[in-house]
């Protein structure tokens, strides 16, 4: 190796070694959240505030003082303590919060959503809508005085499914079947079903949807659920849990599966297991009266009860013949 190469190499080596020894404490102290005050030869513990907002580009104020950067921003070398953070952007509601900066730690004020002051709204369809329902398949169904309409979620692709317009007042709830081919709606006393995606060539009036009244009850309806397969409906009234056959064609079979002691306060239907959870007044093992949570497993008991009902009816019909 030439002498000049050796000299150059030595310079490069000592320069690299020196650079490493200088950069290492600087880089580590920065990474660990320390601040070196070279004038006072002192090391301080600091913290970091990370602020991000949606939309980005909002102004940041710390204790009322404007910070240079816009969101998203990483504010370093913050002395530990409490700070009031404000995030502002013209045309949006400002966001503010008191945060605490801890030594060597990161305080995150991220996922801030700035809501616009004037909300942008869009009239989806220019129709007088009595009610509407949205399916999981991302369609909007409009119950209007001119019929049942359907559109995409943004209002495009509007089309009429049916001329039916006799929508009741006081609709309490609506429920789509799993396949989104039907939905139920009900008021206090009556339950209706809407059949969607029908073949226009077969239906009366060439409609692709039809509305059918399913049942009217003596007691107010609390909630309704689709029984698996969507051929039966669980109708919960203030007094009974009924199961109602969807298909008409003569007499509609209805069975009362449970009689409440009091109006259920809460209901939950586990559609995966066809079980209904509800509260009712009852007595525990020590005969203490109270409101308890019950579970009715329809998978096991439904068919048994239904079979009994059918047998009973057949027996009654036989007696009448006799």
């Amino acid at each position: 190796m030439k002498k000049s190469d050796k000299t150059k190499r030595m310079i490069a080596f000592y320069f690299s070694a020196g650079l490493y020894l200088i950069l290492l404490p600087v880089l580590l102290s920065y990474s660990l959240g320390y601040k070196i005050d070279f004038k006072k030869i002192k090391v301080y513990k600091t913290g970091i505030i990370y602020i991000s907002s949606n939309p980005a580009g909002a102004e940041i104020y710390i204790n009322g003082k404007r910070y240079n950067d816009l969101t998203p921003a990483q504010i370093e070398e913050m002395k530990p303590g409490a700070y009031k953070i404000e995030v502002k952007r013209e045309g949006f509601y400002s966001w503010e919060k008191d945060v605490v900066v801890r030594p060597n730690m990161v305080t995150r004020a991220d996922r801030i959503i700035l809501f616009p002051v004037i909300q942008q709204t869009k009239m989806l369809v220019k129709r007088d809508v009595s009610d509407f329902v949205v399916s999981d398949k991302r369609y909007v169904y409009y119950m209007t005085k001119t019929g049942l309409l359907k559109s995409n979620m943004d209002g495009t692709g509007l089309k009429r499914l049916s001329f039916y317009s006799n929508w009741p007042s006081g609709i309490i709830g609506k429920r789509f079947s799993r396949d989104a081919g039907k939905f139920l709606y009900f008021n206090e006393k009556t339950l209706w079903a809407v059949y969607l995606n029908l073949d226009k060539d077969i239906t009366e009036g060439g409609e692709s949807a039809q509305v059918e009244e399913i049942v009217t009850t003596d007691e107010p309806i609390v909630d309704v659920f689709w029984y698996s397969g969507a051929s039966y409906i669980i109708v919960v009234t203030e007094k009974y849990i009924n199961v109602v056959e969807l298909k008409g064609g003569g007499k509609r079979n209805i069975a009362s599966l449970y009689k409440f002691n009091a109006r259920p306060k809460r209901l939950y239907y586990d559609s995966d297991n066809d079980s209904i959870y509800f509260t009712d007044i009852g007595r525990d093992a020590d005969s203490m009266e109270g409101t308890y949570l019950y579970r009715l497993d329809l998978r096991q008991t439904f068919f048994d009860k239904f079979m009994k009902l059918l047998l009973k009816r057949e027996a009654e019909a036989g007696n009448e013949k006799d």
Binding site: M1, K2, D5, K8, R9, A12, F13, S16, L19, Y20, L23, L24, L27, L28, Y30, S31, L32, G33, T46, G47, I48, Y50, N104, M105, V106, R108
Partner: protein, 505 residues
């Protein structure tokens, strides 16, 4: 077990033990003390950036020397030299030894033709082809055909057959080379040629020496007063089939060439690698190549270093010898082939117990400081080789993965990804230097290669982080683990393929 055997096992275990201890400790600490690992990762990443920046600078120095010395007509310089210690280019012989196993004439012929094309007196060449007897008969027949073809073009063309199963030998290249050198000795004795007047170049079968190689070698040999206490190392490049090789193989082989160029700037660590030259007298005095070690290229250096009590060095020569890129038709096969080749190179870690045992010998007269320095160099180079890529690629993200939410809320947990990414970006400038030098070292594009391939030669470097992660450390870990467990490697011959026999890409 004898005491010396116990020490041998200890020194065989140390490199692998250090590597595994480091990696396991870092993995375990990432779970229980992620903060410590994060601090270590940042310190290591910075160290690595500074280190590769420094090495890149050395690469540029070496490249500048290579460019500068490219235009030198060495034979003219030799002619101009006055006789030194009775040596002049007129009374120096170049013995070129090719230990051969299965390599056919398509590999050997260009290597011998390169000797013929060299800018040196052809009647000063003694070519020796030593064929392994365990190879197929075809290998021997091919060698005889080559002798027939080239015998009149050199001073002497010797073909010999290395018998199998000589006591004390294992199936390694060094054993074959030693056999060839002994046959050469007999020839020199018969001609009364002084061993000091013979420069021995031990070349791989695919080694094509540059035109000025032997002139440069003779010049350095004659002018070096410590000539018999030196080996002479050219810059190995892998240009023979580079245009036809896979990108992944090209990057790795270019990386090896660059490392050798860098080593020429670090003489205190410089050890012979692959094809190189030395005085035949030194070879005979030191007792030829070890016949039971795989890493014959570096082992012969250490043998001479020990023989001359540490008064032995490697003289860098800024001339190139070109070899084949270890490549295959498919990517997976190429990766496997490269892996095996790099593992064989990493098996050079076997030099550590060899050197340490010699250093412990009572008769060893090497100064203690030198012993410590050289032992540290061997250990440090193999240790770094085995851990760097794993730390940078796999250990660095561990604190964030296993540190949990609390760690991510700390300043270092938050800063670690951005600091590591910034350091990585800084290190990318070294790739630009590699691209520049690799393009400058490229041989002319063969006619059968499309012009677009020139663009690939540049773009291929984008693969380097992936190649580093895949093959940067794993072959070294494999080699050290085998040595640690006493599962000794056998010599794996990297099969040579040229475009004519094996097209790739």
């Amino acid at each position: 077990m004898k005491r010396i055997e116990k020490y041998r096992r200890l020194f065989e275990i140390i490199p692998g033990f250090l590597t595994w201890t480091t990696l396991i400790t870092l993995f375990v600490l990432a779970f229980i003390k992620p903060l410590w690992v994060a601090v270590f990762v940042i310190a290591f990443d910075l160290y690595w950036v500074v280190r590769i920046s420094y090495l890149t600078l050395l690469l540029l120095f070496a490249y500048r020397r290579l460019e500068k010395e490219k235009s030198i007509n060495w034979i003219e310089r030799c002619v101009a030299l006055a006789e030194m210690d009775g040596l002049s280019f007129k009374n120096i012989y170049h013995a070129v030894l090719f230990p051969v196993y299965k390599e056919g004439p398509e590999i050997l012929t260009p290597s011998i033709e390169a000797l013929e094309a060299s800018n040196y007196l052809k009647d000063k060449f003694i070519v020796v082809i030593s064929v392994e007897a365990r190879a197929l008969e075809e290998a021997w027949t091919n060698a005889l055909k080559l002798k027939e073809k080239f015998k009149d073009r050199f001073f002497q063309f010797i073909v010999t057959r290395h018998p199998d199963n000589i006591p004390g030998e294992v199936k390694v290249k060094g054993a074959n080379a030693t056999w060839g050198a002994k046959v050469l000795k007999d020839f020199l004795d018969s001609k009364n040629i002084d061993y000091e007047h013979v420069i021995m170049s031990c070349f791989d079968a695919d080694t094509c020496a540059e035109k000025e190689y032997f002139g440069c070698l003779a010049y350095h040999y004659i002018t070096n007063p410590n000539r018999t206490h030196s080996s002479y190392q050219p810059i190995p490049v892998y240009n023979n089939n580079i245009w036809h090789a896979r990108s992944i193989a090209r990057i790795l082989e270019l990386g090896s060439s660059f490392m050798q160029m860098i080593e020429t700037m670090r003489l205190e660590k410089f050890v012979t690698f692959s094809s190189h030259s030395m005085s035949f007298k030194t070879l005979v005095d030191a007792g030829y190549w070890p016949v039971d070690m795989i890493s014959d290229d570096s082992a012969i250096y250490w043998k001479c270093f020990l023989y001359f009590d540490g008064d032995y060095s490697v003289i860098p020569m800024y001339v190139m010898v070109s070899m084949d890129v270890a490549t295959e038709k498919g990517i997976i096969q190429t990766v496997i082939k490269q892996y095996k080749q790099k593992r064989r190179w990493a098996w050079g870690v076997e030099n550590f117990p060899y050197v340490m045992l010699a250093f412990m010998n009572k008769d060893c007269r090497i100064p203690l400081a030198k012993k410590i320095r050289r032992a540290f160099h061997i250990l440090e180079s193999h240790y770094t080789w085995a851990v760097w890529a794993i730390i940078i690629t796999f250990v660095a993200p561990l604190p964030l993965i296993f540190g949990g939410g609390l760690f991510r809320q700390t300043a270092i947990g938050y800063n670690l990804p951005s600091v590591a990414a910034a350091l990585f970006r800084i290190s990318l400038f070294t790739i630009l230097v590699c691209v520049f030098i690799s393009v400058r070292l490229l041989p002319p594009r063969p006619k059968d290669v499309k012009p677009q391939k020139s663009i690939i030669m540049v773009v291929q470097w984008l693969l380097s982080p992936l190649v580093a992660a895949l093959l940067g450390s794993t072959p070294a870990i494999d080699a050290q683990t085998r040595l640690m467990l006493g599962k000794y490697m056998h010599f794996y011959v990297t099969e040579k393929f040229r475009k004519s026999s094996h097209p790739a890409e």
